[in-house]
């Protein structure tokens, strides 16, 4: 980011005046950061520290949590099958949705960058529109399409493919469809970014050296767009893990997801210490996934800059 910043590096010649100017600039740089830091330190970093501290307390049934310094919450969450299933379900869905958006989004991104021509702005609008439409609107649309008496089932029954409705809404499948729809734009934008950076002459070189279209695609285009693929996967995995709305409105209580479970634990069950522990472990999972993907990227594409 901001790679092209052309900047005031400090003083080029040693001297009292330039040293003074350099210090002035350092001070001004921090002066500009005051508003952001006064918001982010007390309202973002400090609450994360509070969660970490509270995760070592314990919850007295029917009362607010008791100050302590024990690791019982961590032991319970990491060993109890119910909590393990929350993390397992969420990670499974996050990875699944990320892979689906990658498969669906890649050809779209490729077309957008390489062949769209004059239609490019139109396609960009098509990608941006779902982002500005309320998630509730999109959920409502999917309810009508995937319900037992909805569009898909009407079609299936009218064509005689099934004689009883296929349950999609309020099932894992309905939730996954809604998530793929909600997060597909987040995958397409970084993909398009990295595909746009590929020099078309490399592809010509590849084909003129005898590689067919599919070989060029598999061995040149995909490796060169790896930074976009990784960035898209990271983005989608992170947002699916924290999605609260779609599991509740399109999913099923038989397949519990992490974000709604944290809410229930904190608000319905009023177990602050336990919910704090779940939240801290959720952050750990997200950070672990993002870091390991950065590592993969550095191994596979050392020339690329990871974020």
């Amino acid at each position: 980011m901001a790679a092209s910043a052309t900047l005031a590096q400090g003083p080029s010649r040693p001297g009292v005046l330039s040293r003074w100017l350099f210090l002035q600039q350092q001070r001004f740089a921090w002066f500009l950061l005051i508003p952001a830091l006064t918001i982010l330190i007390p309202l973002f970093l400090f609450p994360l520290a509070v969660l970490l501290r509270n995760s070592f307390n314990w919850d007295e049934p029917g009362a607010i949590m008791v100050e302590d310094f024990i690791i019982d919450n961590y032991v319970r969450i990491l060993t109890d099958g119910y909590y393990a299933s929350l993390f397992g379900n969420s990670i499974l869905v996050a990875v699944g949705v990320a892979v689906l958006t990658l498969i669906i989004g890649y050809p779209f991104a490729f077309f957008l960058v390489r062949w769209a021509g004059k239609r490019r702005n139109l396609l960009l609008w098509i990608i941006y529109t779902p982002l500005i439409v309320s998630v509730i609107t999109r959920v409502f649309g999917w309810m009508i399409i995937t319900a037992d008496s909805g569009l898909i089932n009407n079609f299936l029954q009218a064509t005689g493919l099934t004689d009883r409705p296929v349950h999609i809404l309020f099932e894992v499948s309905g939730m996954v469809i809604g998530m793929v729809h909600r997060y597909l734009p987040l995958m397409i934008l970084p993909l398009a970014n990295s595909i746009a950076k590929i020099d078309m002459r490399i592809l010509l070189a590849s084909t003129s050296l005898g590689a067919g279209t599919s070989a060029t695609f598999a061995r040149v285009v995909i490796p060169l767009s790896l930074p976009g693929i990784i960035a898209g996967l990271q983005l989608v995995i992170a947002v699916v893990l924290s999605d609260f709305v779609l599991p509740i409105l399109l999913g099923t209580p038989r397949f519990r997801m992490l974000a709604p479970a944290i809410y229930d634990e904190a608000i319905a069950n009023v177990r602050w210490a336990n919910s704090a522990t779940m939240a801290i472990l959720m952050v750990a999972v997200v950070v672990l996934i993002l870091l390991s993907m950065n590592l993969i990227l550095r191994r596979a594409a050392p020339w690329a800059k990871s974020f």
């Binding site: 609450p47 509070v50 409105l249 939240a279």
Partner: protein, 262 residues
């Protein structure tokens, strides 16, 4: 890579377009339904559900509450994110990369976690869930977008313009107002617009920080208990409002930019 694959690819892009826009179009059409059941296509058309939505105090109040929260939080994110973006782009200083990570971090930390953390921080000091708590929380998730778009606007910006202005006798404030600010304005406006939309549509933080009164929470409760087309009517009005808002923002951008060139 020849163009021979194109027809299939065009068909595929068409399919993805239908997938992306289909549910939205379906919801908009259903808002004009004449019956309360969610049948598509609707048997008849009417404005009935717009009246129902308008008469529902919960929706109208929710709209007001969400607008207040989104205005306060996007203004906070706008000021903080714009100045931070300028600082990160224009200066090399000790701790710069740490600051850069900090302002992007709210994108990576799940909103549910930030919301829970703020609840457990604010409630003990007496700030109960409500408009204030929700505005503070939403400003955090707006900052990364503003910073990102300000940095994008500043890519290719030449800091020597500022040096030139100052060596010609302009004060730091004058330089900022006449040189720096016009350059970041497009990014700032786009960032604030985006932060506003993100706040207006936020659920994951509001469940902890508001008392169930922002519009998305109201719509969510409504959809869970009685899904009728009034939700679609509200949604359609929101779509119209955000499109009009974006067009206005877009126009504002272009006029100002043209003004700068002249």
């Amino acid at each position: 890579m020849t163009r021979s694959g194109s027809p299939y690819l065009v068909a595929y892009v068409g399919l993805v377009t239908v997938f992306l826009l289909g549910p939205i179009v379906v919801a908009v059409i259903l808002s004009f339904s004449s019956v309360s059941q969610l049948v598509f296509p609707p048997p008849g058309l009417s404005f009935e559900w717009y009246e129902v939505a308008w008469d529902n105090r919960k929706f109208v109040d929710g709209f007001v509450v969400s607008t207040i929260i989104a205005t306060i939080s996007s203004a906070m994110a706008g000021v903080a994110g714009t100045l931070a973006g300028i600082s990160i782009n224009n200066y090399r200083f000790f701790g710069r990369s740490a600051v850069q990570s900090l302002v992007i971090m709210p994108l990576i930390i799940p909103a549910v976690v930030i919301g829970l953390g703020l609840l457990q921080t604010l409630a003990p000091v007496g700030i109960r869930p409500g408009i204030l708590a929700a505005s503070l929380g939403h400003s955090i998730i707006g900052i990364p977008y503003v910073v990102y778009l300000v940095l994008a606007a500043l890519s290719g910006y030449d800091i020597r313009l500022e040096h030139a202005a100052q060596s010609l006798g302009a004060s730091r404030l004058r330089t900022f107002l006449d040189i720096t600010f016009p350059a970041v304005r497009p990014g700032m406006i786009a960032g604030v617009a985006f932060a506003f939309l993100m706040s207006f549509d936020n659920v994951a933080m509001s469940i902890f920080l508001a008392r169930g009164d922002p519009l998305p929470l109201r719509l969510m409760q409504h959809i869970q208990y009685y899904a009728d087309p009034s939700v679609a009517a509200v949604s359609t009005m929101l779509v119209v409002i955000s499109l009009v808002g974006l067009l206005l923002f877009g126009r504002m951008l272009r006029k100002r930019d043209v003004g700068n060139l002249a």
